[in-house]
Subunit: 160 residues, 2 copies
DNA sequence: GGCAGATCGTTGCGCAGACAACTATAGCGA
DNA sequence: TCGCTATAGTTGTCTGCGCAACGATCTGCC
């Protein structure tokens, strides 16, 4: 565990490195799959839809520009466009014209959307606590949050 | 930071919890997207294909049962079946009958697959180091690995 | 031996998402 | 004012994946 910090022959990962990396992949995959299934089963709401509604609720006037929404939920504009189609069809949100920019459009939470979100949120939060947060001490949570914050710039700026 | 450990009104996440959770989502998404793009651009090899080849190389005789392979790379059997179709078409692996179980099939790495994997591996490892491992101290890596190991059972067993 | 149920791999089908192309509009410089 | 370029949102098209169904085979029990 205290072998000199050679980053290995660049050819291989040490078990420690491997654990840190692959572990995240596995945990993320398993966790999101479980949470998505739970949300879908109990509220008929896929995880991505849930996240859209959540961002809307947190936004001013419960509405956001399509564009911003897309980057918030990490979807392409086309992907978001169709997702919003579905949510609008289900009455969970509504499109609104944008006065300040005639090209643009808002997505705004409807009362029904707010309601569905509130129910789903309880389920989802409980899931996150049960499967994730409850396993971590406060210090660990703090540490994780710090790590993520440090990592984000690193992986975005990597032009290579 | 040292407020009593009330898990919040179960209604909301504290900023610390939120950072630990959403941070992982964002980092994972950004990172895998970047790594996948890099792999695809330089070697024409999507990330999932890379992982299949990697598991094969690490396996005995460089071959694995379809079934085990599927669960290793976290894909459904049908998904893996088609992925293997593509890789076989590209000559990176070959299907082999299984003597011990006539239902089964092996996927085995071909020389070309080994070769492509070796090149891709260098790229991929460099990427992981640049965007992930290099930002973490050894202690942090150790800690992360520990956390993931603790989390996995928790999220699999959550029957709810 | 022979049957019942489980398991392996493949296939038909449908869905969600990405990319590229398109339209409409904004913003800016000459 | 007139372009020229950038941006917002939508749509056509393609790809990758999951679910369910299927045939083939294995396993266990009678």
């Amino acid at each position: 565990m205290t072998s000199p910090t050679q980053p290995a022959p660049a050819e291989l990962l040490t078990p420690r490195e491997l654990g840190a990396w692959r572990g995240m992949l596995r945990v993320h995959a398993t966790l999101t799959k479980a949470l998505d299934a739970e949300l879908e089963a109990r509220h008929g709401l896929p995880l991505t839809s849930y996240e859209v509604l959540l961002f809307l609720q947190e936004a001013q006037e419960e509405r956001m520009r399509m564009c911003d929404l897309a980057s918030s939920v990490l979807l392409s504009r086309s992907g978001l466009s169709r997702l919003v189609d579905r949510l609008e069809r289900d009455g969970l949100l509504a499109r609104e014209a944008c006065a300040a920019d005639a090209r643009g459009a808002f997505a705004r939470l409807t009362p029904k959307g707010r309601e569905v979100l509130a129910e789903a949120r309880a389920t989802h939060l409980a899931g996150i606590r049960a499967m994730f947060l409850s396993q971590l001490s406060e210090a660990e949570q703090e540490l994780l949050a710090g790590i993520w914050e440090r990592l984000l710039p690193a992986c975005c700026s990597s032009k290579s």
